[in-house]
Amino acid sequence: MAELERALAALAGEIEFPTAPDLRPRVRERLERRRLARPFALAVALLVVAFGIAMAVPPARSAILRFFHIGAVTVERVQRLPAARERPLATGLGPARTLDQAQARSGVTLILHAPQPQHFYARPGLIATLLQYRGKPVLLAELQGDQLGITKKLAAPDTRVEPADMGSFGLWITGGKHVIYWETRPGEGSQIKPRLAGNVLIWTQDSRTFRLEGDLREEQMLELARDITR
C-alpha cells in the first residue's frame, strides 16, 4: 500500500463521526404501521376493482359516480371526449431546468431513485421529468399540495381504469386515449393546453401523487414505478 493510502487508513481511526443511533425501534414502528395499513389498502383496491367492473356494465355505469379522485388527480367519465390533440409529453410544463432550480420553483422534493435525467420541469406544486425507459420516453410527474391538479376525462369503455398494485392506492389507465387537463391556479403562469394521453399509471404515497405516462405495458410501468419510489 502506498504511503499516502497508509496515512489515510491511519487517519480513518481518528475521524470524528457522530455516534450511530439505534434505528431498530423507529424502523420497527414504521414496518408495523405499514402492516396495519395493508388491509385498508386492500379494501381500497377492491373498491377500485368494483368500480372498474361497474364501469364495464352499461346499466350500472349510469348509476355510479361520474368522477372520483386519486391524490391530486380527478378522473371523470364523459360520454364523448372533449376536443384535444396529441402533443409532446412535456408540452406546457415550462422550460427545462436543473433539478435544484425545479425543486426550488415547484416546492416539491423529487423522489426519483433511478434513472437520473438531466432536465426537469416545474410549476408550483409539480415537478416533472422525461425519462427514457426501455427505449421509450416516459413522463414522470410528482405533485404535492393543492397548487396544481390534474383532471382526466375518459370515455368508457374505450378507456379502461384498473387498480394497480402500487403505493397505498394505484390506478392503471389504458386502452383508448383520454384527455388530460393540468389545473393550475389563476395567476400561476400560462395555462397548459389539454392534450390526448395514452397509458398512465397513477399512485399515491404519503401526501404525494405520482403519475407516469408513456407507451409501456402495465408490468413495465409498474417496474419503473417501483424503482422510482422504492
Binding site: 489515510l8 487517519l11 480513518a12 481511526g13 443511533p21 414504521r30
Partner: protein, 182 residues
C-alpha cells in the same frame, strides 16, 4: 437442540417471508455503516439518521426484488445513499461536510494503535486539511473508501456511479492529496 446463529442469507430469507425480527437483526448489523455513509453524503447527523431510517424501511419494501445470493450491504447502501442525496439536494446545501479528527485522545498510558502511530499530530492535521480541501465529489469518494471503509464496488453502488468513475475519481483525489500533503 441448540440453535445456531443465523447467517445473513438466512436472515434475508426470513425477512423476505415477512419476519420483522430477522429484519431487525439485519438493521442492527448494518445501521452503523448505513449511518456513516449517509452522514458523509448528507453532511449532518440529523439528515443522516433520517436517510438511514428511510433507507431501511424502503429496503424492507423492496426485499422481494432483492436477488437471492447477492451481497446485501451494497444493495442496502445504495438505497440509503439515495435517501441521503435526496435530503442534501432538497436542503440545497452547498457547504460540504468538514471532517474533524476526534479530540479525545487515548487516556493514561494506553499505547496508540499501530495505525495511529503511523501519523504524527502534525501530519494528521495536514492530511485532514488536504482532504477537506478536495472538491466535493472527490472528498466524498475518499471519505467513503478510506474513512467509512466501503469497497470500490460499494462506493460505486452508493454513489450510483460506474466503478470506473469511482476508480478515476479516487486516483485524481489521491494525486491532489499527494501534491498538497507531500
Amino acid at each position: 437442540m441448540v440453535g445456531r446463529p443465523l447467517d445473513e442469507s438466512d436472515l434475508i430469507g426470513r425477512a423476505k417471508r415477512g419476519d420483522t425480527h430477522a429484519y431487525e437483526d439485519l438493521v442492527y448489523a448494518h445501521q452503523g455503516i448505513a449511518f456513516r455513509t449517509a452522514y458523509v453524503i448528507a453532511g449532518n447527523a440529523a439528515d443522516a439518521e433520517e436517510a438511514a431510517q428511510d433507507g431501511f424501511v424502503k429496503a424492507w419494501r423492496a426485499l422481494g426484488r432483492f436477488r437471492e445470493g447477492a451481497p446485501f450491504r451494497p444493495w442496502l447502501l445504495r438505497i440509503v445513499a439515495n435517501e441521503a442525496r435526496n435530503r442534501r439536494r432538497s436542503a440545497g446545501r452547498r457547504a460540504h461536510l468538514a471532517l474533524r479528527a476526534a479530540t479525545e485522545q487515548p487516556s493514561g498510558d494506553a499505547a496508540p494503535s499501530p495505525e495511529a502511530a503511523f501519523l504524527s499530530a502534525e501530519q494528521r492535521e495536514s492530511l485532514l486539511a488536504a482532504v477537506n480541501e478536495l472538491p466535493d465529489d472527490q472528498r466524498t469518494v475518499i471519505s467513503l473508501r478510506y474513512f467509512v471503509g466501503l469497497s470500490e464496488h460499494e462506493t460505486a453502488e452508493a454513489l450510483g456511479l460506474p466503478a470506473g468513475t469511482v476508480k478515476s475519481r479516487t486516483a485524481r483525489a489521491l494525486e491532489r492529496l499527494r501534491e498538497s500533503y507531500g
